[in-house]
Symmetry: D2
Subunit: 355 residues, 4 copies
């Protein structure tokens, strides 16, 4: 079977991650990546042997001795699928560019508004809805994390209502210009957009969310309360459901993972490229069932990594080159999802819990 030709429009923090993930797929080929400015990310692309295409000013690259392979239009001509990794809000502005290349399917990366594409996408939640579509939007980092958790819980226990408090990281580690410093800044709307966004992929779920921004760069943290239709009798039932989903990862303070700082360190330690944690982290100690059967749990989310697996799945969905289970398994295997040593680390503890 011919490989799917994929290109990245907008090579930055997310674009580089998508590009590296595509390289690891046997059924895909990376055409190249585009950039506006010839900064150090451009140089990085060259070093990774990713053909670079200029979005607007080819001479700017040439002046800095950065070799480019053409313009963004040249790149799109060769692509079956383009992944729009432009900054939030720019995706919609790329409409005229994409209109010039009607053969190419478009996947909008997280952060875009729901109306950017007719279909919002989360592999677990609605893979089949995206099969063969012209363009889809992968939902944002927080929504991707929630979709996985809620879909798994809903399948197992029936989610009657989810209520989520989201503590967001203020900025990415390499971004030193927009933040909240020594303060907590709530998102001043109720519910926050995350509830609305979750319903784009899981429309039948009753959900409310609030969010605030805290001065940290590493990860988001969710505190999650759910009313379940068929509450499990004990937490081991919940851990079993989580353990069966490779895109969820149980983390424990007993292993030294007592803050988001150690979790990121663990990902680096384990050789994950860019120190990425593709999985939604679920804190073992902060999961419980109330006397009335409601579930409480706390999640840790790597904002830069979490949507990467779903983006790879979206490529297979829009090109109809694999079904849901096949795609998710291919993506998991290629990225090492479900193979972090943590899960095999303390087998006795897990045995006690799961038997």
């Amino acid at each position: 079977m011919a490989k799917v030709k994929v290109s990245i429009n907008g090579y930055g923090n997310i674009g580089k991650r998508v590009a590296e993930a595509i390289k690891k797929q046997n059924d895909m080929e990376l055409v190249g990546a585009s950039k506006v400015n010839p900064d150090y990310h451009s140089h990085d692309a060259i070093k990774r042997e990713i053909p670079l295409y200029a979005i607007s000013n080819p001479d700017g690259f040439t002046e800095k001795n950065i070799e480019i392979s053409g313009t963004v239009d040249d790149m799109l001509k060769k692509s079956d699928v383009v992944i729009d990794c432009a900054p939030s809000g720019v995706g919609l502005m790329n409409a005229s560019l994409y209109a010039r290349h009607p053969h190419a399917k478009i996947i909008y990366q997280g952060g875009e508004a729901a109306n950017t594409a007719p279909i919002s996408f989360n592999a677990q939640a609605n893979y089949d809805d995206a099969v063969g579509k012209k363009s889809v939007r992968v939902v944002s980092c927080n929504t991707t994390a929630l979709s996985r958790v809620i879909k798994s819980l809903d399948d197992a226990f029936g989610v009657q209502k989810a209520r989520v408090a989201i503590v967001r990281r203020a900025a990415d580690p390499n971004d030193a210009s927009k933040f909240t410093l020594n303060a907590i800044t709530p998102t001043t709307v109720y519910p926050s957009h995350h509830a609305v966004d979750l319903n784009t992929v899981l429309p039948h779920i009753k959900i409310t969310t609030m969010s605030c921004v805290a001065p940290t760069t590493l990860m988001h943290c969710h505190m999650f309360f759910a009313t379940l239709r068929n509450p499990p009798s004990e937490v081991s039932n919940v851990f079993r459901v989580i353990g069966n989903n490779k895109r969820l990862l149980i983390i424990s303070a007993k292993h030294g993972l007592y803050s988001t700082g150690q979790i990121k360190d663990l990902a680096y330690e384990n050789g994950r490229q860019f120190g990425d944690l593709y999985e939604t982290g679920v804190w073992k100690e902060v999961l419980g069932i109330d006397a009335d059967g409601e579930l409480g749990m706390s999640l840790a989310i790597d904002q830069q990594a979490i949507t990467i697996p779903e983006t790879i799945d979206a490529i297979r969905a829009v090109t109809a080159t694999a079904d849901k289970e096949t795609s998710m398994e291919l993506t998991n295997t290629s990225l090492g999802i479900g193979e972090l040593d943590l899960k095999t680390y303390a087998p006795q503890i897990q045995k006690q819990k799961f038997v």
Copy 2:
């Protein structure tokens, strides 16, 4: 009527606030405050004309030319009520000291374990339970804030279940030695102790809480989800309940209060001593009623200030010198609670909402 003689055991961030609040009460007299070390807080006490008593090493004070009025035992002999403002966990260790002065009633300030005193106290929730008691514990900052909100909501709408996500400040502004830096650290137990603590003053409330620590010094932030027995038909009903409780304060991003940073600035601006916000802040924009009648809201809590009014009320309760309504009104008036300009700031907006 003779004034109630009150002393402070442990003069620090909280002790100084309690001392200043006592000075403002016409029915109380400040005997003095005790300290372990002759550091700059000692000097501050002298400047505020608060008689200083040495907890353990009187000579240490004399050597530094800091005048003391005696030992902590001397202080207790003169006191009707002693407020234990020792650091968290030390209150219990003061038992033998207090046993030597059986006439003095004891009020333990927030942060102590529930078993430190037979009664846990929140003025709104259970004033009457504390009347005439030998010792009571004022619940901690987060629990005090929640008690006020939940009691008000419960009286108005019946709280069937509360679920609260608590984002805690890592340290006080003048404490540079224990923290979480650039990370989010969950409290690794479910539920967090706050739910248990809330039930010491409101035992009939079904509640669960989770908490995490964020790297900020200014205020705590709560995200609060409640199922109500008799849900209000619109948010104006909720704002009316909040508006009727002087110890709650509606704050709005429209007034420039878009993070905890501006809220603390507002308190300083308004001439509040130490920049203290005694009220539980309720963010106007982050309050809503779900389609199913559940309530969501976000709170801002000044960890150093919020228990001060309840501590003053506790003095009147244990000495049986005033009933609940009288005490709360005296405390409110003396501390300016309910008089922050914010409430009168944008009358039209409030009119639209409340009419």
Copy 3:
């Protein structure tokens, strides 16, 4: 003698401080303050009984029921002196406004470029140069702090060369929107503008500076290295010079002041309005003389407070209503400068040092 009529153009963090300082001067009268937007600072001005004038949109204030006394032109008509407290860079844009009121002298607050006014001002350094002038610029917070220290050292020992490393706070406490988070950001020019700025008030001083921004809101910190023409034989000589300048303040970790956090707390404790530290803090333990006679010292600077005394002095200078010594003494006394308890806190230690 008629009081000097002073107005504030731009009422914000600095404007409110200048306004309150003017109220405390017996020889001055506050005409009022202007604002662009009717936000909570406007309300604060009303509460402080400061007549408010609209800079551009009077109806916006009226719509929010905020009483104004007229337009900024109305305010300037009544003023002998206007203090430009507009954000950095806006001062220059107010030229046409000021041109319509040629009788009013103008004092530009810190943060403006040197060419905004013909004279840059620091009371100690060059008061006499500003006497009777039409407009002067008070140098910025870091430069004001350095001017005081360098002028004192130069008078006492002759400064041959000063080299200063400046660690700047990233944002003010009530500003949650522009920062550096978990990173250190150098000012990428050598020398930083502070050296150039210092020479506008002390042109004969040989100086170089570098600066970087750290993620904190409280204070700047300087590390200062100076070659002296007549090096003192011991540090007590330096402490004597510092002790004789009321606008410098010796602070000590021995008093519990081991970070900028405690220093701000101290200022609040001592009842300073807004918790302001008008003095340049000099860390006692971080001051030494090298074997070759060079001096090292570390400074702590409250970015919001430090230029206030100099601004008050500038009013007297441009109106020629007092000479340098008289003005500085009036300003010091009215603002309590030189009266922080710290100086009298540990007399024995100081005696040992200074005798």
Copy 4:
């Protein structure tokens, strides 16, 4: 030639870096690493196929199913050289352990006091002094960075006096328990210990240092002022000296490297293991020569990485298996030092400067 057998006593943030660096040396063999606790770092060692030895409690490891190869004594028996990577201050307490294994040479990793070993070590500064010695101490991160810069400058221009302001990171990224939050904390001694430490490897240099801690985890930042005996006529001379030293790296805001955040990102981007920057970064834009010939420059230092190359060199020095130039070149090549793309990134700019 037989490979030098090296073991790591204390496997943590630094130990893992040393271990990985040793693996990359053709003339060395990694015996194993020891640990006190069976936490996630232990698991990491297993995954990296590093034989693990228990420092005190072998059963603790066995209970958690972590395979160990013996005790720390077993490890030392097999070692020619042991690298002490214990936390600061613990090195000295390991004396009796090392006394039981007199054949093994000891290298103390940065952070230990100067009296821990008879020789303090920096490869460039005093390699020859360490040849064949029983034990040496690699100086700390800040001192290592300064030794490189000062040695290079001294060789080229003669350093008459160095004055350095050090802004230290408060904690490592995976350490969430000891810090300074939203404050700047000076080291309250003059000079700071860094000057003293620098003189242990470069005793003839006249130097003074001050330091303060800022709330960041990523890197230290130095602001450096030097009087030179033979000042260069232009900055290009200085850049040439820096460019000729592979352990120094010129970084530029023009390449998007405007804070320590981007520098760490760059190191990750370039595939450096753990995102380590072994080189001392020198900010291109913050380097200048004053009119009087003095030099100012600003440095960026990766606290976890910078001493690794010198530690590898120290192994060759104490075993007398290579001379200084050979060792430094072997270390550089094996770790990719001097090969970051940054140096080849903007050749035109460098041509202009260096020709």
